[in-house]
Point group: C2
Chain length 206, copies 2
């Protein structure tokens, strides 16, 4: 157990452990080992044990880990025992897909509000949400205490909208826009960009 600052790369693996454990649980399994979990994810057993050791001692020698217990601990560490409301900004095709996605449930998240600038979209329903005017953004985020946003606006608008989000109190942004965002460093930003990943893969193609 190490009470100093945890390396970000360690934190980044915890959600993957949690995901695999959830699936094992759904398959009716009740216990596992670092070896088995690692095989499943493609990570060494030692790596998993070392990662977990940063946060406590969750296993039993000779036995391994109780799946429900480990899930519970990881959820607590990642702060996903609560449900975080998400502001979804951009109601295009991708925004639609995300708004209708059922996978957030039981993973610590729910879409709390959807925004767009297009007058044709404002007021319409997608995935059970009424699309709100961007003009309501700040107020809605503040009133609902939303801290996390998903950004699905065009590249050209991303920086400006991101700044508005930060202004409104958003602390973490998951951006689908293919542009690096320039924001205060206390804002935690992550990106999803399939082109980047595809180009990474083509390097290895014959």
């Amino acid at each position: 157990m190490d009470s100093t600052l945890i390396p970000d790369i360690v934190v980044s693996r915890l959600p993957r452990y949690l995901q695999a454990l959830h699936r094992m649980q759904e398959e009716g399994q009740n216990a596992t080992s670092s070896q088995e979990l690692g095989d499943r994810i493609g990570i060494s057993a030692a790596q998993i044990r070392k990662d977990l050791s940063h946060f406590g001692e969750f296993g039993k020698q000779g036995t391994g880990y109780s799946i429900p217990y480990l899930i519970d601990q990881l959820q607590a560490i990642l702060k996903v025992k609560q449900v975080w409301g998400i502001a979804l900004v951009g109601a295009g095709d991708l925004g639609h897909a995300i708004a209708r996605y059922q996978g957030f449930t039981n993973r610590g998240f729910r879409i709390a509000a959807v925004f767009d600038v297009d007058p044709h979209k404002i007021g319409s329903q997608i995935g059970g949400f009424v699309v709100q005017d961007m003009a309501n953004l700040a107020q809605s985020i503040r009133e609902n205490g939303i801290k996390v946003a998903m950004l699905t606006v065009p590249a050209d608008a991303a920086q400006k909208v991101a700044e508005e989000l930060v202004q409104a109190g958003i602390q973490s942004i998951l951006s689908y826009a293919p542009v690096p965002l320039n924001l205060p460093e206390e804002v935690y930003v992550q990106y999803i960009d399939p082109i980047i990943q595809l180009q990474h893969m083509t390097y290895y193609l014959g």
Copy 2:
């Protein structure tokens, strides 16, 4: 210049350099420095110079880099001067969004075919593509020499479909399914899973 095997982590940064350079070019810029490029992406100048040095000497002392030339070189390294056809498997909401996405153009990719198992979807048009029966998968992939696939099927189907793709000759898979795929190691797999990234972010939230 280092002719030995390039670390994967180096390769993974090249598409981001390319993306930033494209944007600079669109903004009318013609030259840049490792410093400026790094500031833009949030990477140290030394890191960028070291990364590029694995592949050649692309800059000029005192001057920096020619943007068109560096773009050209990176495109060649990443093999995206050609256009790779992509098999898109899964015509749900996400598949729709991807099929209609305009961002592949000029980045080395185009959707070549769309597949689904649902009889209601087969034959319908999305984003200008006719959705094909999964039964045609292998034949279509072979005939068109497709090597890259994007996987947007439900989690439960992902492993099985991925195996079919590999069987048909697919060499790289970008999977949106929230499951680790278990495939021969010569197949290069990458994942996009917003839940994983969101849970990573919540660790840092107050």
